[in-house]
């Protein structure tokens, strides 16, 4: 599995395994940690001016910039957030279906049907493979209703903002990159 995560990060995993690997990462905290750690290592290695003493101070500087957290269980949350962002950043082309992460939930149509449009087209000439691919993709896309729900929730919540500025719908309208 670790080989697959590594390959996924390097964009060397074949398209069938991608979906499978992502769902496994999602289900296992251990794999999510693995994923985060690999990214951290990758990021450090890619820094052109890298030298060993700098790693510590660089990371410390980054942490200083970040806001401190108070609740004791935050480190766990922090990791999963890193995971969410890492996925969003590195997988855009391969899996547009990862919209359940919330990054693009603001203006999804509010239907409960999984939207297959959200899936990046996959190119395969083998009909058997194609079918398998489709099945896996569909499974991933089932996450869409969750983001639709979040959309509903955001809107319902909007009614309670005390100072609404120019309009209570300012945030509802906004679209995120």
């Amino acid at each position: 599995m670790k080989d697959k995560i590594s390959a996924l990060m390097d964009g060397e995993l074949d398209s069938i395994d991608v979906a499978d690997t992502i769902s496994q990462i999602k289900e296992s905290e251990e794999l999510r940690n693995e994923w985060s750690t690999y990214h951290l290592i990758g990021d450090v290695l890619r820094q052109p001016t890298m030298s060993i003493p700098d790693i510590a101070s660089n990371i410390r500087n980054e942490l200083d910039i970040e806001s401190s957290v108070l609740a004791p269980d935050i480190p766990k949350e922090r990791k999963s957030q890193v995971f969410a962002f890492a996925i969003a950043a590195s997988m855009v082309a391969a899996v547009a279906a990862v919209t359940w992460m919330g990054g693009k939930t603001m203006d999804l149509p509010l239907t409960d049907k999984p939207s297959l449009q959200a899936v990046a087209p996959t190119v395969t000439s083998d009909p058997v493979l194609a079918k398998k691919e489709e099945a896996k993709t569909e499974k991933l896309v089932l996450h869409d209703p969750a983001s639709i729900r979040i959309n509903d929730y955001m809107f319902a919540h909007g009614e309670f903002t005390a100072i609404r500025g120019v309009s209570p719908y300012m945030r509802t309208v906004a679209r995120r990159p």
Partner: protein
């Protein structure tokens, strides 16, 4: 393979070590945070009259849109992302009417006629109609904004600045702890309209909106309030959401260990479009920032694990977790640590999921 090999080497220790160092300063800042709060308490007594005056300005902000016509262009920015919109706002004896058009990226529009809000997404061929039930049917349930503000914020007037050629009073609501954001507001001196607002986490701007051009108290051509987009019968029309009634205290959920300053203001059951199962909705507020907790039964299609994180969207943080056979989603314009603490404090005793 490369990553695995590195993990096995001592490099891992170098990577982990800084995190250990991070814990200590964080606790040190913790204790200084408490002392700031005490000082803040004293300050708010000393500045009680200044704060009271600032609160009058806040009330003007809340009241202004209910009385004023205006048209203008505003820019909303967050996360390094920027978006320009045009707003037309009209008040007459029939109520409040508003149209917002997003001018950047794919066209989107919001049209509001009092409590009915239509959202148009032409590129997705979608029209969403929503009725804001609470305001009309349960006015008493709406939070009294700005009450108990002094428990959580230092409210102060900080001088005047010019925005879009209007002289504005600047009001700062400085958070007393890290469980909420600070806000800086620029209020038109003549009308009380909010012309600029920034949500801040200490000195960092989390999200901001500002009018770059505005005409206040102008005559409004009603044509400007009509949608620029015509719905076709083939397009998706959704009506959403509907409130099913109030069940104050009957949901069977409680939230213990609330962050200081927050209290429960409301508890209702909602039914969203296309759903039959009601969703519990508990709202908390510190007088300025609101946090909503949504509780619904777990379904077999649920993607959620025990915890689920969502990226921050402007000032909004979202945190979901499962409690028993339910999914608890916490949403609010507060720092992440706050939605997590509230989300983790939601406890159930008995829940009846009847309509």
């Amino acid at each position: 393979m490369l990553y695995q090999q590195i993990i096995k080497s001592s490099a891992l220790i170098l990577l982990v070590a800084p995190f250990a160092g991070f814990v200590l300063p964080s606790f040190a800042e913790d204790s200084s945070g408490i002392s700031t709060e005490t000082v803040g308490g004293l300050q708010s007594i000393v500045n009680a009259s200044a704060s009271k005056e600032a609160q009058v300005w806040l009330q003007r902000i809340v009241d202004a849109p209910r009385k004023l016509n205006y048209t203008g262009i505003f820019v909303y920015s967050s996360d390094g992302h920027m978006e320009t919109s045009r707003v037309v706002h009209m008040v007459n004896n029939e109520g409040e009417f508003e149209r917002i058009e997003v001018l950047d990226g794919p066209p989107r529009e919001v049209i509001r006629n009092n409590n009915e809000v239509k959202r148009y997404f032409p590129d997705r061929k979608t029209l969403v109609t929503e009725k804001r039930g609470l305001q009309k049917f349960f006015p008493a349930l709406l939070p009294k904004p700005l009450s108990n503000l002094n428990n959580s914020y230092i409210v102060k007037k900080v001088g005047r600045e010019r925005i879009s050629d209007y002289e504005c009073q600047v009001i700062v609501l400085e958070a007393k702890d890290r469980m909420r954001y600070s806000q800086k507001l620029w209020v038109d001196v003549a009308t009380g309209l909010l012309l600029k607002a920034a949500v801040m986490e200490r000195s960092r701007i989390v999200e901001q909106f500002v009018f770059t051009q505005i005409e206040i108290d102008s005559e409004i051509d009603k044509e400007l309030l009509k949608p620029g987009y015509v719905t076709k019968s083939t397009e998706v029309n959704v009506t959403n959401p509907v409130i099913s009634g109030t069940v104050r205290g009957e949901l069977g959920w409680e939230i213990k260990n609330l962050p200081s300053g927050f209290s429960k203001i409301n508890e209702v059951r909602r039914i969203f479009a296309g759903k039959t199962t009601p969703v519990g909705h508990i709202t908390l507020s510190d007088g300025l920032a609101a946090v909503s907790v949504f509780i619904r039964p777990f379904t077999k299609n649920d993607p959620l694990g025990p915890h689920e994180s969502y990226p921050q969207q402007g000032a909004i943080n979202i945190y979901a977790r499962t409690v028993g056979k339910n999914v608890v989603t916490t949403i609010g314009e507060v720092p992440r640590v706050t939605v997590v603490q509230i989300g983790n404090s939601v406890k159930t005793y008995k829940v009846k999921w009847t309509k």
